[in-house]
């Protein structure tokens, strides 16, 4: 599939990361911010801590540019939407600009409203077609499954980072270095494999 080259020298590149508390969204945005710095850009990374981390929707924003002002991304502004959970992709879809890049972890976590039976979790095909409202180029990656097969489902966020690096034609070495800077040394090997696996599934497509 066609890979997008994102260059932040002319205009800002905005990454909108979403997930559920505890999924490693913050670590992934740390890595993205670090990659931006390594590419020589000004970088801002905004996230919310506290109550929302207790199983609620979590959002993190990373912006690369020659000079970044606002750290938060407004509706319709994101170049890339990275969702670590499928339903959250749809919830935050309005933030993606029309024609933006959409990367989805093919994994669902039922909100309590669903497990308690007061709401229904949307089916995959419905999700997929809803997501097409903003973007024709969506990539779904089985991040949790892949990471689990490598040793720990927790590395799903790094699988997705690997996929993203391929989608936007990033230099793998730069990205991997940023990943390894941010994860505990004892999990370096696992995360390296997770990153490469995520990169490979997109390269193959």
């Amino acid at each position: 599939m066609e890979k997008k080259k994102l260059d932040a020298t002319e205009k800002p590149v905005r990454f909108f990361l979403v997930g559920v508390g505890g999924q490693g969204t913050i670590l992934a945005s740390d890595v993205l911010a670090e990659v931006g710095l390594k590419c020589g850009y000004d970088v801002k990374k905004a996230e919310i801590h506290g109550m929302s981390q207790r199983g609620g929707s979590v959002v993190s924003n990373v912006v690369w540019a020659r000079q970044v002002f606002s750290p938060i991304i407004s509706v319709g502004e994101a170049d890339v939407l990275i969702a670590f959970e499928k339903l959250e992709a749809l919830r935050f879809l309005p933030f993606l600009q029309p024609g933006g890049l959409l990367l989805v972890n093919d994994y669902s976590i039922a909100p309590v409203t669903v497990s308690a039976g007061v709401a229904l979790y949307p089916k995959d095909d419905a999700l997929y077609s809803q997501l097409r409202q903003r973007s024709q180029s969506q990539t779904w990656v089985k991040g949790v499954e892949l990471a689990d097969s490598l040793g720990s489902a927790k590395a799903a966020n790094v699988v997705l980072l690997g996929s993203l690096s391929a989608l936007i034609s990033g230099d793998a070495d730069v990205w991997l270095e940023a990943v390894l800077q941010r994860v505990p040394a004892k999990f370096a090997d696992l995360n390296k494999k997770a990153f490469e696996a995520g990169r490979a599934v997109v390269m193959e497509k």
Partner: protein, 613 residues
């Protein structure tokens, strides 16, 4: 020079260290928490968690009296708790630099109310600095110590969520050389003992100090004019500066780093240099009102009807945090800029299942809320993770106000003669914070409030901070573990019982028994937060025996995120069976206890893999 990506909070801590601060005291609270956590890791400093913000501020004041640069950290509402200290510190001044840090939370991402603590600076007559990114957070922290010493005043460094939790590149500097020679502790009652006779004289001093600070505001590089087009001029400060630059790239800007007191001449000169003058700030019209008081004319928006209130904000919303789309929309509505030619098309999402924050899988608070919900009693709650007991399907909390209010609000209902028995729920750290005086009041004034102290052995919501009950300090030194049972008995409570947090049956029988007697009682439910590393080691996902489950929904009603509706159906009743998510389940066994058909296996019933040692 080394450039590092630091959050605003990390940058403030770095600034404190570079400025030679020796003492930091704080109480955890989003979005301030990481400041003290980070400061604690620097060499040669003393950092602590105090039991509440008032204590933290007094500790910082005490250290600054003793000749060491010191600061305190708290969230916006923490300043309300500390306000008494804030004012006397402003009156006395200090020997060495003193900085009060208030981290405000516009939009209340993790707070019970929205307040603009720049107001406290004006209220207490002290200067206020308001940084716009991490570099400024660090630089302003250092400047705050300088100003503090130069003008003999505490300085308020006011942050907001988007500064605290946004990471931006920061230049790191070396540590400031500072004199650590012992000083003679001041014996200066005229300055440090605020008896009425002394305080009256000090009030005159601090008003003069403000006059001098206003002069300083005219010349300090903390305030600067960015001259661009003269069509629109914007006075702004803090994070709003970023939105000003992005939405109005050509406008001239008066960027106020010090938002109180205002530089009168600078404001007037700037106003004269532009055609349309506006103020762009988050929350209250704090700058705007002062600019109006100067008689400076601001741009009149075309959509502004006659003001309903004297303190009305003219263009931008007074509630919630701003962002570029809100600022742009308000500016278009006011007739300042043209609307976008091609607005982003709206999309239809339909009704998505909401995902509110919830008690985690394995949360030891769940069992108590399950029972309280079953007992249908009014529950007066408090501030912490357990506030989430309010959420469906538990719905087990009926009031939540501020730190420590649970017990006193319940007492208020009891003495008002409310026919129902009230239960107050409060966490361990919140009990130490301000719950103790409220419990003493229950005993002293003899109401029958039942208090549940949910002791999860840590300060949870803010991300696992040590507290007086945990046996460790912020800097990881072993310390005493305050014995809650002894403390509660010392307050005069006779009926005190401790039950393991997960023990549903014991919690139920104890509460039911106490409901029958007309005396105050305290139940301590004790179990480590399931997210603590020591608890994680014990995680063992449970399993559902499909043959026994008939989809009766009893386990769904405890509201655990690890319990899912299976795609398999019970044939007789045609309803989904329960399923347990092995990635989320911790094995707390609350579901297994409430299952009427023994369809969920307890840990002891699980088949153990042969490989396990």
């Amino acid at each position: 020079m080394v450039k590092r990506l630091l959050s605003g909070n990390e940058a403030v801590a770095r600034g404190a260290w570079e400025a030679g601060a020796r003492v930091g005291s704080g109480y955890p609270g989003t979005p301030s928490t990481e400041i003290m956590e980070t400061f604690a890791t620097y060499p040669g400093v003393y950092a602590e968690w105090a039991p509440n913000e008032k204590v933290a501020m007094e500790v910082a004041i005490g250290a600054a009296y003793a000749g060491r640069r010191a600061f305190c950290t708290m969230k916006h509402v923490g300043v309300n708790v500390a306000a008494d200290a804030l004012f006397f510190g402003a009156m006395t001044g200090i020997e060495k630099g003193l900085v009060y840090i208030s981290a405000d939370d516009p939009s209340m991402h993790s707070s019970q109310n929205e307040q603009d603590n720049r107001q406290y600076a004006r209220f207490a007559r002290i200067p206020c600095l308001d940084p716009a990114d991490s570099q400024e957070a660090k630089d302003f922290m250092k400047a705050a110590f300088e100003i503090s010493e130069q003008y003999d005043t505490p300085v308020l460094l006011r942050l907001t969520t988007r500064v605290c939790h946004t990471s931006t590149p920061v230049d790191l500097d070396a540590q400031h050389e500072h004199d650590l020679a012992p000083i003679q502790y001041p014996r200066n009652p005229a300055k440090y003992c605020m008896l009425p006779a002394n305080a009256r004289k000090r009030h005159v001093v601090i008003e003069h100090r403000l006059d001098e600070l206003a002069q300083f505001a005219e010349v300090t590089p903390l305030n600067r004019v960015e001259q661009r087009s003269s069509e629109i001029g914007i006075i702004t400060g803090g994070i709003a500066y970023q939105y000003a630059r992005e939405v109005f790239p050509d406008a001239s800007v008066l960027k106020l780093g010090m938002v109180y007191p205002l530089p009168v001449k600078l404001v007037k000169d700037f106003a004269r240099s532009v055609k349309k003058l506006i103020v762009l700030e988050e929350l209250d019209p704090f700058i705007e009102q002062q600019v109006r008081l100067l008689g400076v004319e601001l741009f009149q928006p075309q959509n502004l009807s006659s003001p309903k209130r004297a303190d009305q904000k003219s263009i931008f919303p007074v509630f919630g945090e701003l962002n570029t789309s809100i600022v742009r929309a308000s500016a278009v509505e006011a007739g300042l800029i043209a609307g976008e030619a091609e607005p982003v098309p709206e999309i239809a999402l339909g009704d998505l299942p909401p995902r509110p924050p919830t008690l985690c899988a394995g949360c030891p608070h769940r069992s108590t809320f399950y029972i309280l919900s079953k007992l249908k009693v009014p529950v007066n709650g408090d501030i912490g993770c357990y506030t989430l007991g309010i959420a469906p399907p538990l719905n087990a909390m009926h009031t939540v106000g501020c730190m420590g209010a649970s017990i006193s609000v319940a007492h208020g209902a009891a003495v008002a003669g409310d026919a129902e028995r009230h239960v107050a729920v409060i966490g361990d750290s919140t009990f130490f914070h301000t719950g103790i005086p409220a419990l003493i009041n229950v005993v002293y004034n003899q109401s029958n409030v039942i208090t549940v102290i949910m002791d999860n052995r840590i300060t949870g919501m803010t991300g696992h901070q040590q507290n007086p009950g945990t046996g460790k300090t912020l800097q990881n030194k072993p310390s005493v573990q305050l014995n809650i049972e002894t403390l509660v008995r010392a307050c005069g409570i006779e009926h005190v019982k401790t039950i393991e947090g997960y023990d549903v049956k014991a919690i139920e029988s104890t509460l039911k028994e106490w409901m029958k007697m007309d005396e105050p009682a305290v139940l301590i439910t004790r179990e480590e937060c399931a997210l603590l590393p020591s608890a994680r080691k014990r995680w063992t996902p449970l399993q559902v025996v499909e043959e026994k489950c008939n989809g009766c929904t009893a386990c769904f009603r405890i509201g655990c995120p690890a319990i899912l509706k299976s795609s398999k159906m019970d044939e007789k009743y045609n309803r989904p069976l329960a399923e347990i998510d092995p990635f989320l389940c911790t094995g707390c066994e609350i579901c297994a206890q409430v299952c009427p058909r023994d369809a969920i296996l307890f840990r002891s019933q699980l088949a153990r893999p042969l490989t396990e040692g």
